[in-house]
Amino acid sequence: MTIEVRNLVKKFGSFAALDGVDLKVDNGELLALLGPSGSGKTTLLRIIAGLDWPDSGEVSFNGEDALAQGARERHVGFVFQHYALFRHMTVFENVAFGLRVQPRAVRKEEAAIRARVKELLDLVQLDWLADRYPSQLSGGQRQRIALARALAIEPRILLLDEPFGALDAKVRKELRKWLRSLHHEINVTSIFVTHDQEEALEVANRVVVMDKGRIEQIGSPDDVYESPATAFVHGFIGESIELPVRIADGMVRFGDRPLALAADGLVPGASRLFVRRHDMLVGPPGSGAFEGAVQQVRNFGPVQRAEVELAGGETIEIDAPRDKELRAGDAIGLQPRRYRIFAG
């Protein structure tokens, strides 16, 4: 099932939750909608599911207009952040719900329903919980049951709204891996919403980065990490150092110092320089574009993180390999190995 969204606009009062969104999702993709809260990602997901309606724009599934159908007709599996399980039903009945409410003409026989539910509970590896009530399950188990329930109707599309948002860090990591392998197994076109970049980059085939109701960038996890299209994406994904610079006379200036960086093709005026923490290489004073003094060093797993005060006023944090000798008070030179400059 392909999904196409064209020029979607949705306003809540004067606040534009979606401000002209275009998106194409290919068959069998696992797509992440990534953005800070208020970026419109959940609104977009709910409109695709038929739980919300846009003010203008189009949504089509396989080329056919989806907005003409309600949530019920769209055949979309939806997984909620807080599970939304039916608490008066057992796990088994929760998963069976979508099969039991089908119109009589297409409804399966009881035996077939039982077999299908059993199969789904096996798929999410929770068949031993069939007779429990949702309140007796852990968060991770509840979310897997919610997923099994959504899959019971053999949805054309699977939509997940912050599916791991309410779970603790360890369970999140497990479920991420599990979701990836599950998608590999069932291969249904899926979109999940998250504000956690690590989750998006680890799970999705393609990542859509959103901010303020607009799409900032669409690309593979490598694309959005390695070549961010906008200042927002660079700042949002991965840990970035952000420095105010000026482009003038074919040079990049930081404060009143010209930097030894190429300024080809850059628009003159105020700009921002983005560098990943680990892309700032440490050398002796005078060896790089920046000069600075080390304020503090902390060890962090495979790296050491140094707080450096730059000549020019800003204080930044860089990541250097553990074998590099750094001490508080050292004067150092810094050269960005890779960087991007965005106007504005």
Partner: protein, 278 residues
């Protein structure tokens, strides 16, 4: 675990509160009720039976319990719809309607009775068009029914309200996206979740209607065997100094009410047990 928890509570006071509970309930409820039973013992079983099996008593009990149950059922349906609108939608005047629901709680029942009678009398605002359609309300059992609906409505609304507020609208969205129709969502998801609260509301509205006296006697017409409620018959017997007769009827009302409330309570427990707390 639980044994330890019993022995070491952060707040001591089990003995004190339990003692107070028992003595208070005894003084306020149990002793007066016991007095009622004792008084009825002055009657021989035969006399007791004769009073109860008299046509007038049986009809009064039938009117009281039958109409109270019917009114409670109407309140269950209409109360559920009202509470749904009040909880789920935001509309101008919502707070006003919300306050209006409580009016039957606070209004002296005699005032309610007079107002309803004036409204539904043959020349009243509602009574006149209804009379034209051939329906007489005031001074008939229909009038009793209307008064019982009036006084019972807040019980259903206020019992169901907090439970409905607690019910996440996402549950309905989940049901919808799984293919359930609006109707299926109501029947299979919403009503079962509200079940225990609905039963409690029904029981309270019923109990209130059975015990109602003030508003009903104004609108009922109080015709023996037709529109005479059991509480009124008790008052009549008392004014005739037939105290034993009065207590006999009272005892029957008490026992029947208790059995019904107890049954509803059990039913509610059972429904609750199917929804373990979160």
């Amino acid at each position: 675990m639980s044994a330890i928890a019993l022995r070491r509570r952060t707040l001591p006071g089990f003995g004190l509160t339990m003692g107070l509970t028992l003595s208070w309930l005894s003084v306020i409820i149990l002793i007066p009720l016991a007095g009622l039973f004792l008084k009825s013992l002055e009657l021989s079983p035969e006399q007791f039976w004769n009073i109860l099996s008299s046509r007038r008593t049986l009809n009064a009990l039938r009117v009281s319990f039958g109409l109270a149950f019917a009114a409670a059922c109407v309140n269950l349906v209409m109360g559920s719809i009202i509470v749904w609108a009040l909880v789920r939608y935001r509309f101008p005047g919502r707070r006003l309607f919300d306050a209006i629901v409580d009016v039957p709680f606070a209004l002296p029942t005699a005032v309610a009775g007079v107002a309803l009678t004036a409204l539904f009398a043959e020349k009243g605002w509602l009574g006149a068009p209804l009379a034209a359609a051939g329906i007489k309300v005031a001074f008939t059992p229909v009038g009793i029914f209307v008064a019982m609906i009036f006084i019972g409505i807040p019980f259903v609304v206020r019992t169901v309200e907090p439970v409905l507020q607690d019910l996440d609208p996402e549950i309905e969205e989940a049901a919808g996206s799984l293919g359930a129709s609006r109707w299926q969502t109501i029947i299979r998801v919403i009503l079962p979740s509200l079940g225990p609260a609905l039963l409690t509301g029904l029981a309270l509205a019923f109990a209130r209607a059975v015990g109602e006296y003030g508003s009903v006697i104004f609108i009922a017409g109080n015709l023996p065997n037709v529109s005479e409620i059991a509480p009124l018959l008790i008052v009549i017997r008392l004014s005739e100094f037939r105290y034993a007769d009065a207590t006999a009827i009272a005892v029957v009302m008490l026992v029947v009410s208790f059995v019904i409330i107890f049954a509803v309570n059990r039913l509610q427990r059972w429904a609750q047990s199917r929804i373990p707390v979160r």
